[in-house]
Amino acid sequence: MMAETIPLSYLTPGTEATVADVRAGCGMLRRLAAMGIHPESRVTVVCSDRGSLIVSVAGTRYALSRGMAMKILVGATTGMGAA
């Protein structure tokens, strides 16, 4: 069964999701990974406004512009609590 994925920028504040894919170039990919954003990681949306977000990853907060958030795809079924 293929899980749907949606870009992170569509999520609402308070939602938690798992990253499925990151569509970025090598360098940015590595940088995101070092910050904790990589497939399988859990991400929580703190604030959101027209696609640009502040998210919480591994206890740290990051702000991403819409362009950036559109590149991060997460599983469409959002989870509350441990999977």
Partner: protein, 666 residues
């Protein structure tokens, strides 16, 4: 006296610099890593009978070569082989920090972990089990609170101990059979070149190569093993490998975490809730504008009594000098008009600049400025600038020199270049003397508003220029915004004052050096040939002015203004001092004002045009020096001079010629 070298490594914002500052105190030196614009901070500390050299490496999230900072940090560890690396970890952001830990361990260096900001973590309810950590990583873990200088003694003790004892464990993360096979194949190939293997730990180098690290590949050049290694790499599926390796690392961290930190909390906290307000789509920008108003308002208001005091002081010095009857006359003039007058005009604006920098530091340390960059990013994207440009632009209102240096945090080259090129249009503190004088004399009722208009004009020109550059010489879109938002915190006076000082001292150095030299040059040109009336048309300054006058005639600027503008190239503060000299008013502003009013060719329109010209015309020498250093190119430095002069001339021209029509029409 035994000597030991320690490197401090860690993520940005973990308090590494605070620890460095406390350990080294005043025995530190800031320079540059060779060949790059990254700052190198090194210093000395003493522990028992050890003399310890400490190098503060740039903060990095990992040691893969995405940015210059990371390359510098890891090259230092590999090439310089410090005796110990102290890995400073933010206990409140524990999980994220561990990624770097795994990479440091793979480098095989003697490691000590400093669990910093422990007081805040404990307050949060985060409980990190240090003894489990020690067991798992097999390295000492010391609890520290850098801002309160706690735990630092123990930290040094652990570091010295690690340095002295051997052997060290090379901690290996198992990457799974397939990858491990590739690693050992590559490792063997690397081992065939003993020189290469001695320089870089083979396993580490193999891992880096498998991750597609370009910088690591470069390290192979010249080695006899290069061909073999590259051939092996061709065969491996690198994309897949890289993803798997990151996965493994996180797997290790994920397995470790519950054993080591039972309460690593991830819930929404007050900081997040505040963010909901601060970054609200409607309130975000108004709140930002209001806070900016607060900062500038407070700066001007609080600076005023200091400025008055300094003015009185210099006036007093001048009077004492005049009464002292020093011979010969030219020496008196040198001291009075040259030094006191020249330098005085700079020192007087020191409070202004330092207070603004302090308030900006407060906003930055509280965590707010990061949010402001985020809030402004959307707007800035539309003009072709990244949100990160924003902080350097703000600093530019204090002084352009530290502002341009602050652009180092912008990774994208075009973004950074555009930010540097438009920065000089942010009206720095040095231009204020000119504005205050001219606005005060020619627009007495509206002086404040006129100055405000000039500031706004600077911003407008900066934005228009950015838009223009994007359309023509530097096309492309800004890099997408991605920035860590540190938690909101109450800033300490100490840290903010320190930040203020780091940026402000550049202005002081400028005052002591360039401006003093410039003031003396002005004095010299105004005094000689010997015997002429000080600052008259017969002096060298006057002759120079008459030479330049034709260039400025279309703007209605006479030779005196031309000379003042020329000297303004050295530092914009000198414009007022030079005008004082040339109008025969000395350093007494009252009489300069009177002299200006008396001059028939100098009216409100000319004054306004002149202010606009000074606002825009080109960066001062100190700023140009920084532009050259940060861009590394003469081409762009000269461009910024040419562009500035062109824009200034154009706008001044328009003002001078359009104004009579507008006024006549009213």
């Amino acid at each position: 006296m035994k000597k030991i070298r320690i490197a401090l490594a860690g993520n940005p914002n973990v308090g590494k610099s605070t620890i460095f500052n406390v350990l080294t105190g005043s025995r530190q030196h800031v320079g540059n890593w060779p060949g790059v614009t990254v700052e190198k901070k090194s210093g000395f500390a003493k522990y028992q009978d050890y003399e310890i050299e400490i190098v503060d490496l740039p903060g990095t999230y990992s040691l893969t070569a995405y940015s210059i900072d990371e390359v510098v940090a890891r090259d230092y560890i590999i090439d310089e082989k410090p005796d110990v690396v102290i890995h400073v970890v933010d206990a409140t952001n524990f999980e994220r920090n561990l990624y770097l830990t795994t990479q440091l361990m793979e480098l095989g260096v003697p490691l000590v972990m400093a669990l910093n900001m422990s007081d805040m973590a404990e307050k949060n309810g985060t409980a990190i089990n240090r003894s489990s950590m020690k067991k798992f990583f097999e390295i000492p873990v010391v609890r520290t609170v850098g801002s309160k200088a706690e735990g630092l003694d123990e930290l040094l003790r652990a570091a010295v101990h690690e340095a002295e004892t051997s052997p060290h464990h090379e901690h290996a993360i198992g990457y799974g059979d397939t990858i491990e096979r590739s690693i050992s194949d590559l490792g063997a190939a690397i081992g065939n070149d003993p020189a290469l293997a001695a320089r870089y730990p083979p396993r580490w180098l193999a891992i880096r190569l498998l991750e597609g690290d370009e910088n690591a590949k470069e390290k192979l050049s010249g080695s006899q093993a290069q061909a073999h290694v590259l051939a092996l790499l061709e065969k491996a599926d690198l994309d897949q490998t890289e993803a798997e390796m990151a996965d493994r690392r996180y797997g290790v961290i994920g397995a470790l975490l519950p054993q080591v930190c039972t309460t690593c909390v991830k819930e929404m906290n007050s900081s997040d809730l505040i963010d909901r307000v601060i970054t609200d789509r409607y309130l975000g920008i108004p709140i930002f504008l209001a806070l900016m108003w607060g900062a500038f308002q407070l700066t001007f208001a609080v600076a005023t009594p200091f400025m008055t005091a300094i003015d009185e002081l210099f006036g007093y010095c001048g009077a004492v000098l005049a009464g002292s009857g020093i011979e010969p006359a030219w020496l008196m003039s040198l001291l009075g008009d040259g030094i006191i007058g020249g330098v005085g005009s700079v020192i007087i604006f020191l409070p202004n600049i330092f207070i603004l920098l302090f308030l900006l530091a407060l906003l930055e340390d509280s965590g707010y400025l990061a949010r402001a960059a985020f809030v402004m990013d959307r707007l800035m994207y539309a003009i072709g600038l990244p949100g990160k440009s924003f902080i350097p632009m703000l600093i530019g209102f204090g002084c352009n020199v530290p502002a341009i240096m602050a652009t180092r945090s912008i990774e994208d080259k075009s973004d950074r270049l555009i930010t540097i090129l438009i920065n000089p249009f942010m009206s720095c503190g040095a231009r204020l003397p000119v504005f205050v004088l001219l606005a005060g004399v020619f627009f007495p009722a509206n002086a404040g508003n006129v100055v405000f208009i000039l500031y706004v004009l600077g911003i407008v020109v900066a934005i228009a220029s950015a838009w223009l550059f994007r359309k023509t010489i530097l096309p492309g879109k800004p890099a997408p915004f991605l920035m860590e938002m540190p938690p909101y915190r109450l800033p300490t006076l100490f840290t903010s004052v320190r930040h203020m000082w780091d940026r402000g001292y550049m202005y002081l150095r400028k005052a002591g050096g360039i401006i003093l030299a410039g003031a003396l040059i002005v004095w010299f040109l105004a005094t000689f040939p010997y015997g002429v009336e000080y600052g008259s048309a017969d002096s060298y300054a006057g002759m120079l002015g008459h030479l330049l006058q034709p260039l400025f005639a279309p703007l209605g600027f006479d030779w005196k203004i031309a000379v003042a503008l020329l000297f303004g190239f050295i530092a914009k503060e000198i414009v007022v001092g030079s005008m004082g000299v040339l109008y025969g008013a000395g350093d007494d502003e009252g009489s300069l004002a009177a002299a200006l009013l008396a001059d028939p060719s100098f009216g409100p329109v000319t004054a306004f045009a002149l202010m606009v010209f000074v606002l825009l015309y080109m960066p001062c020498i100190a700023a140009l020096a920084v532009i050259k250093k940060e861009t590394g190119s003469w081409k762009w430095t000269i461009f910024s001079v040419g562009y500035g002069i062109a824009v200034a001339y154009l706008l001044a021209f328009i003002i001078v010629h359009a104004a009579p029509m507008l006024i006549g029409g009213i």
